[in-house]
């Protein structure tokens, strides 16, 4: 192939004939710059949105803590901002959130992890190609549907087994939330398990390990940080989940772990106030921003933690 300069040099032989190469430099630079700025603008939208949310949250939250001492908020065990005798101890809401999340995790983590192990280690390709899409359908169901499923289907079953079960209760919301989180838990764990190099499995088999020993002593430990990341993301998801708890878990902020009774979570409280007739610009209204900030901080910590773990397991095999 002949090498010829694509920029026309003055007085050079090639500049005398008309060039066969189109496009001016000015035009190219213009297109490149435009593309750059359009892309930047799109990326900026999400950054600005996040910043906007944080500023809104923080502004109202700071005002709230001007009236309620932050320590009282974080350590108080009575939450009655909507009553005549107002108490602003957020712990009952945290308690409710933790209770529901705990039930959800107890359902989602073991079932999800075992599903992931089955899919990646045991299932023949045919079975896998059926089970995986079904799991993904589970992930695509709107949470409001899950909420009514909890209320209309799971709660009656629970009441059949434990007659003292309240109509709105933590157990039913938690169990259904567990199934909602299950696909995420299974899918992230499966990715982590599949990321364990085949070499390691072979090495273990070559030492006379059985399939179960290869899985329990090499594959799962090797994927542990990824699996932990999945657990943390699941917890984070459970904490932030709103619709199921608003529908099925009730609106009674209280302490304790009576799972068959009604409790209120942080998210359910925010819904309650947002949809209610609470006056804006009052202390009652500002509570939702304080609770929202707390929720944001909690899930943010969870996400950072899982990010660190994922990074750790990525490094392990490079």
């Amino acid at each position: 192939m002949e090498l010829r300069p694509r920029f026309a040099l003055k007085n050079s032989a090639s500049s005398r004939e008309p060039s066969k190469w189109g496009g001016s430099r000015r035009q190219r630079v213009l297109v490149e710059r435009t593309v750059h700025w359009v892309l930047f603008a799109c990326a900026a939208v999400s950054v600005l949105t996040t910043t906007g949310i944080v500023i809104t949250l923080l502004g109202e939250t700071v005002q709230f803590f001007g009236e309620v001492p932050i320590l009282d908020f974080l350590t108080g065990t009575r939450w009655t901002p909507l009553f005549a005798s107002q108490n602003f101890g957020v712990l009952p809401l945290v308690n409710g959130t933790v209770a529901v999340a705990l039930v959800a995790i107890v359902v989602a983590v073991p079932v999800g992890l075992l599903t992931a192990i089955f899919l990646s280690e045991y299932a023949p390709g045919r079975v896998r190609s059926v089970v995986k899409p079904i799991l993904e359908v589970l992930a695509g169901i709107p949470t409001v549907v899950y909420g009514y499923f909890a209320l209309q289907f799971v709660t009656p079953i629970l009441r059949g087994i434990f007659p003292q079960t309240q109509i709105f209760n933590v157990a039913s919301a938690g169990i259904v939330m567990g199934f909602m989180i299950l696909p995420m838990m299974a899918s992230i764990s499966e990715d982590a398990i599949r990321a364990v190099p085949r070499d390691l499995r072979q090495g273990a088999y070559a030492l006379g390990a059985t399939k179960l020993e290869v899985i329990t002593r090499v594959v799962v430990p090797g994927a542990l940080s990824g699996i932990l990341a999945a657990v943390i993301l699941s917890i984070s998801r459970a904490i932030g989940e709103t619709m199921i708890v608003a529908i099925a878990a009730g609106l009674q902020p209280k302490m304790g772990f009576d799972l068959l009774s009604s409790m209120e979570t942080m998210t359910a409280y925010i819904v309650q106030v947002s949809l209610g007739d609470t006056q804006q610009d009052t202390i009652e209204y500002r509570t939702i921003f304080a609770v929202g900030t707390l929720l944001f901080v909690l899930t943010f910590i969870m996400n950072v933690l899982s990010d660190l773990l994922v990074r750790r397991y990525r490094e392990a095999y490079e």
Binding site: D199, G203, G208
Partner: protein, 274 residues
């Protein structure tokens, strides 16, 4: 170290009586298929006990597949089929009554790429004895294995360190130590030095010569100099007319490299193809 040598020799003497010095591994009319693809065709060979047998040949001629027949690693891949006999000490390893786990304990394997588990050095070596329910002292077997793999002096002070923190050559010796820990009679090595630098390669080769005292080694290698340097016998594989790997000839290494009986062998070792 001195104590250990005495111990090993004593063990050798005891083993010599049991071993007849004949073939430890053998195949007769062995063919192997990945689904419908015939990978190796009609291979018959005997490999003598306590020798190093090198398997050489161009890429894709089924050397690794052949090696993996001896510890039934191929059956972990779905859709494979085997025909003919693979014998280990007179037992057909593919016989229904043979437990693959038991075969793999006696026929160890070292892989092309060092593959230590993401565990401590100690746990890497102890893995095999643990899964095989070894009843004796774990510390002792870890130390002995690391010494046999010539790694002990480099790692004895941080056995808790991750196996992945070692250099490539050390990792490969760790994998050898790990394989030795279950006290196999045969060590299959699938291009064990292809990912290592020349110095690390030399160490592994020295190690192989020492290990030959107690066990039989079969090594697949792309490196003909390596085969010439370390092995007692050499088997030359190539692609047959049907596109499957075939065994061309096998003999004393010296003969293969000086006076091979087949033209294809000569062409390969003189670098005219492959």
């Amino acid at each position: 170290m001195i104590n250990l040598r005495v111990g090993d020799q004593a063990k050798d003497v005891a083993n010599v009586d049991q071993r007849d010095g004949g073939a430890i591994l053998a195949t007769t009319h062995l063919s192997f298929w990945y689904a419908k693809f015939l990978a190796i065709e009609d291979v018959s060979i005997e490999m003598p006990d306590r020798k190093i047998t090198a398997i050489i040949g161009p890429s894709g001629c089924g050397k690794s597949t052949f090696l993996r027949c001896f510890n039934r690693m191929n059956e972990l891949i779905p859709g494979t089929r085997i025909e003919g006999d693979v014998m280990f000490r007179g037992t057909n390893v593919n016989d229904r009554s043979v437990d693959p786990v038991e075969i793999r304990r006696q026929v160890g394997m070292v892989f092309q790429k060092p593959n230590p588990f993401p565990k401590s050095i100690y746990d890497n070596v102890a893995y095999g004895p643990r899964v095989n329910r070894y009843q004796g002292s774990m510390d002792e077997i870890v130390e002995t294995s690391l010494r046999r793999a010539a790694l002990w002096d480099e790692v004895k002070d941080d056995l808790k360190k991750s196996g992945l923190a070692l250099s490539g050559g050390q990792q490969q010796r760790l994998c050898i130590a790990r394989a030795l820990a279950v006290q196999p009679e045969v060590l299959l090595m699938d291009e064990p030095c292809s990912a290592l630098d020349p110095i690390a390669t030399t160490r592994i080769e020295d190690l192989m010569r020492e290990l030959r005292e107690d066990l039989s080694i079969v090594i697949v290698t792309h490196n003909m100099q390596q085969a010439a340097r370390v092995s007692d016998r050499t088997a030359f594989f190539t692609l047959g007319e049907a596109g499957a790997g075939v065994l061309v000839e096998h003999d004393e290494t010296q003969r293969i490299f000086t006076t091979p009986s087949d033209d294809r062998t000569e062409a390969y070792i003189t670098g005219r193809f492959g």
